[in-house]
Every structure is written in structure tokens, then in C-alpha cells.
Symmetry: C2
Subunit: 370 residues, 2 copies
Amino acid sequence: MSPWSAARPGDRLTDVDTPALLLDLDAFERNLERMANALAGHGVRLRAHAKSHKTPKIALRQVALGAVGICCQKVSEAAVFVEAGIRDVLITNEVVGAGKLARLVALASRARIGVLADAAAPVCDLAQIAATAGAVIDVYVEVDVGRRCGVPPGEPTAELAALIAGFASLRFAGLHVYHGPAQHKRSAAERSAAIGFATDCAKVSRDAVLARGLACETITGAGTGTFLLERDSGIYNEVQAGSYVFMDRDYADNQPAPDDLGFEHALFVRTTVMSRPSGARAIVDAGLKASSVDSGMPKVWNHPGWRYLKASDEHGVLECTEASPPVLGEALMLIPGHCDPTVNLYDEIICFRGDRIEAVWPVAARGALL
Amino acid sequence: MSPWSAARPGDRLTDVDTPALLLDLDAFERNLERMANALAGHGVRLRAHAKSHKTPKIALRQVALGAVGICCQKVSEAAVFVEAGIRDVLITNEVVGAGKLARLVALASRARIGVLADAAAPVCDLAQIAATAGAVIDVYVEVDVGRRCGVPPGEPTAELAALIAGFASLRFAGLHVYHGPAQHKRSAAERSAAIGFATDCAKVSRDAVLARGLACETITGAGTGTFLLERDSGIYNEVQAGSYVFMDRDYADNQPAPDDLGFEHALFVRTTVMSRPSGARAIVDAGLKASSVDSGMPKVWNHPGWRYLKASDEHGVLECTEASPPVLGEALMLIPGHCDPTVNLYDEIICFRGDRIEAVWPVAARGALL
């Protein structure tokens, strides 16, 4: 990591070393409130996805505002959040292998821990390890609606649920029905159709579970692109949005639905113009190691005429068609293409309010891949 | 970061937790030797690019085998390598801003430090800061041959060189003529044409410098895709290859030239099959936070019938057309699409020889963006 920080609390925004990951606290707090208000009174809980921010300070704020807990993707990520005081963590992923399962079970002495399953063998392994440790683990059956992991909807879901429910060391907690590809479908109609399909899959699976005399307590899923649809589906009772706290360029490229909440860009990569080789070209010091390009290039904030054309490791090439192009040494704010992997490149989030740095938050679960 | 390591020295390869970044030490050492042999007797030095590995243990090995020093892209990256004992570091990038320049100058008390320039103002700033500190900094003029940073070849190069040479606190060290886009042109003929162009630009720039009565000690550039061309150009006397130590999928996709050295894949992402939702589909636990996808998907090592189709944050989707598809819990080795940003996702490189873990090397400059 860098031997020094990009900024310290009390610094001015203009003094931040670059490239650095910045959070606009005012916009961030408004995003938190929008989410809490959108779910209030609907009988739908927020289980905030922490893979987006990997930052305990943010998770604790989400829980303080009513989130039931968090989800994350990895056992090591869960360990970081449990250590930081989060008491309800769902690993929204399949976990296989005795070593990993033992680490998962060990977390259950300090928090409620859930995990997904889509096959019998890992369920049996987990049951045995949990029993030996005297722990009880929440297990959700993942229903395949997005062509990734999961069992087919309906009877196969119920069959695996029954297996889980048969172990004293496991608790069948419900269904995980997450439609990933739906999140970034550009039109509201496409997103609505995709979540309509996911909802149908959830219903047929729940009915199959109930027909076996099992309870189906929680139906969880959804992301920032679709969670209002799941909220209003009549079957989901938990949503897992994560990116709403930051909003990235890729989510902003979605055409809003009529009831869109207007989440604001709160996360930025601050960068400096380090070269001006021609009138139309500016090179900035934030490349693909500073802003992940898996979902496309970042966007220059507040400058529609400056386009971030391409990234190499530590260079970003901008094309400038505005009357007043950026000058050498000027600092710009970029909106990352995809917030999750961008945050994962940084050890710290520099939090600002107005023109002052208010706090520096460690991205404690950065790089927690195991 | 993860609260635990993926492996410890002495562990068996099969016990490594996943996803993890692995280095095959035998292949790595053969790559180091191939490079040293290829340059021996040609009057061309290796200045190994450390942005690829960010790992002092590797830089020290490169220097022990004859590299004059390293290059890197950032001041904070340079600081990590100077701290680790590297005594000659070229920052192959423009550096602007008083704060950053002061940190650069501070490194010069412990190592020879070089930096690039393509504009007058930062040169004057650097000269003043270096003079105040009583330091002397090597400055190279960057010649624009790849449509990124740099001044146009010829007279503009000489003009900036003369400005640099006029400051007692700076030393005009030569020309930086790096053709980035040439590195991944697929045919040997295209790469040769591109480096022919870069060589012409270097010559006209050197001649303009010499015509002013200035020395032009070093002409530096080249990457893993083209360095034999620069070696044989008759004008370059330093090459900056970095990826050769690892070799990634994108470099292996280049069609080899007749004199290709046959660098081997030495770097792998080890991953586990965590879901087998259908006969043809396998989901692994290494997604885009485990293997950067900026240059395309990783490749499954030693299994031509298993194709890594797409990545989400923590999932990789494989399509399997082999007679024996992977089984749940099986570990696979992936060849990353692009080694540099993939290494930057990890805190440690797990080094193995045969079926045993021999060492765990900290990626000390991981995340050094400033």
C-alpha cells in the first residue's frame, strides 16, 4: 500500500493527493435516507450488500438506520464485518471445502451467519462441521434465475430445503432469488419483465417448500437496479441493495423508472491532469488501477465535454471538446464505471463535506477474497 | 485484507485456500534467466518494470541477475522499492504538483531517482524543489510515439532537454520512447513496424538533442511484447520489460516472432469450483476481484475444453465441453488476462515449487497509487 495517506481529516479538498477515492458525505447520507424511507412500512427488510463498500463504518451506519444486517460474498469478508461488530451476516454465495466451512462456522459464535446452497454435498459437510462446533447456521437455497449458481425453481428447491431442514445444526432460512443481469438492463420495462420472471420463480419455489410442510421465512434478493420491483412483488421480504450508497456510472446509465428514487453520485476518484500533449488530449493520473473498467470507462463529473476515452494501468486519456479544456495540474472528479471493484482498489475512503475532509475510513475488507 | 493467508510455506499446493495468486517458481526463474541471457553482450541494460509485480522480493532478484534497477509508475510505488533496498528507480511517468514532487525529491537521499517530463512548468517546479533539498534528479524527456503523454519527436524534445540541462539540480538523462500500443499488436510484422516508427522518432529526437551540444546518455523504452526489437534497434540502450516474469494470457495471444524467447506462464489464480448448476456450466470462486478482466477473461490452464465465459465480482462462469468436466470442489488454475492489475488485487503471492509452497511474498506496493 502507499506509505502515506491521500489526506487527513481537516485537510482541504484541494489538498488531497491523487488518485484518491472520495466520498461526498452529504450525498451519501441522503442516499442512506432515501433507501430507509423507500422500505419503511412495506414489510421488507434491508440487508445491505457490503461487497460494494467493504467498509465497516458504512455497514454500521446502515444497521443504525434499520438494516437487519449485511450480506457479503466471501467468508473472509464476513470475518472482517463480524470483527467490526456486525451481528447478522449472510454470505450470498455457495461455500465449499472443509477449511472454508470451518472458518464460516467459527464466525457463528459471534454473529448470526447465513450462507447459500445449491447442492447436497456441501450442505452435508456444513451440517457436520456445525454440529461438531455446536453451532447453528442459516442456510438459504439459491434459486437459479440469472444463469449463474442455483437450483432450478420449484421442486428441486424444495428437495434441497428438506435436506437442510433435516439437520439439527442447520436452519432452513428461506430462498435466495437474485437476478443479477436484471440490475443493468437499461429500460425500466426490461427490468420489470426480468423481476417478474424472478418473482414467478420465487413463488413456485416457495409453494413447493410449503407443500412439504416447511416454513419459508425469508425470500431475499434484489439490487440497486431493481429493488423497488422486489419490494412491491408481494413475495420478497428482504432486499440486498449495495451500490445505492455510492451510485456509479453504470447504474446511472439505467433509464429511470417513474418511481426512481434519484440516488446521487457520492463516490468519486479524484485525479490530476499530469500531461497536456495536445489541445484536445489530457492525460490524468487515474488509470485502470484507480478506477475499474470492467463496466466501462469512468465519467468526468460536471464536464460533459471531457470524455474519458481509455485507460492504461496508471494513465487515463481524456478527449476535450469544451471551450475551456482542463489545465496541467488541475484536479478532476471521476465517477467510476463500477463502484464495487473500484472500492476494492483502495485502502481508504477519503470522506469530505463541502470543501473539507471530515474523515478517513479504512476499507477494512479490501482484498478479502478467501 | 483477508484476516488469514491462503497458504504458508511448507503447505501442499492442494491445501491452498482460494482464490489465491500463485507463482510457479521454476517457470519464473527460467523466465528471469531467459531475459538475462537475451540481453547479455548486446550493450542494452534491463530496467525491469516493477509495476507488473509490485513485489520487492522480485525486484531484488532482477537486480541480482543484472538489472540496473527498476522502473515504476508512481512516487508511492518508488518509495516502497527504495525502502526495500532498490537503489536506482525511474518513475516512468510525468509527476506534477509541489507535494508529489517533494516526496519524489526526498527519495533521492537514498537512491538514484529518475522521472519523465513533457512540459516546462513541472520541470521548473522540480528543479526548485530539488535545489532546496540539495538533491539532483535524473530527468528524461518523454517522446510521444503512442498517443499518450510526451512531446513530439525532434526539435521539441531538444528544447525541453535544454531546459532540463540548464538546472544544476536536474540531470538530463536521456529519452523515454515507449510504444505502449505496440506491445499487444498480434502479428510480429505489426509490432516490428510500430517499433520501427518508435526507433525513427528516437533517432530524430536524439539527433536534435546532440545538435544542441547535449549528451543523450540513455534511450529507454520497450515492453515484454517488443523488447528484442528495441534491443536490436541500434539506438535503445535500456529496456523496461516487466510482464516477462509472469506472462499473462494477453501476451501469450501475441503471435511469436521467429526469435521469440518462449517465456512461460508462471502466474496463476488458483480457484475452486463452487457450483455445478448444469452439465456444461461450472461456477468458480474467482471473479473480477480475483483476476482483472480489462484485457479479457482469464484462461483455464491445461484444460482447452473449459472456457471462462464471464466474470462477476466474485463468480466466474465456465463453459465445459470436455469429456471430463470439473467436479464440485475441484481446484483449477487460471492464467490471468492481464497480470499487472491482477497482482494489484492481492496482498501476497503464494510461491510454489512442484506440489509444495516454498514462500509467501508480500505484494508490498499493492495499491500504491499516489
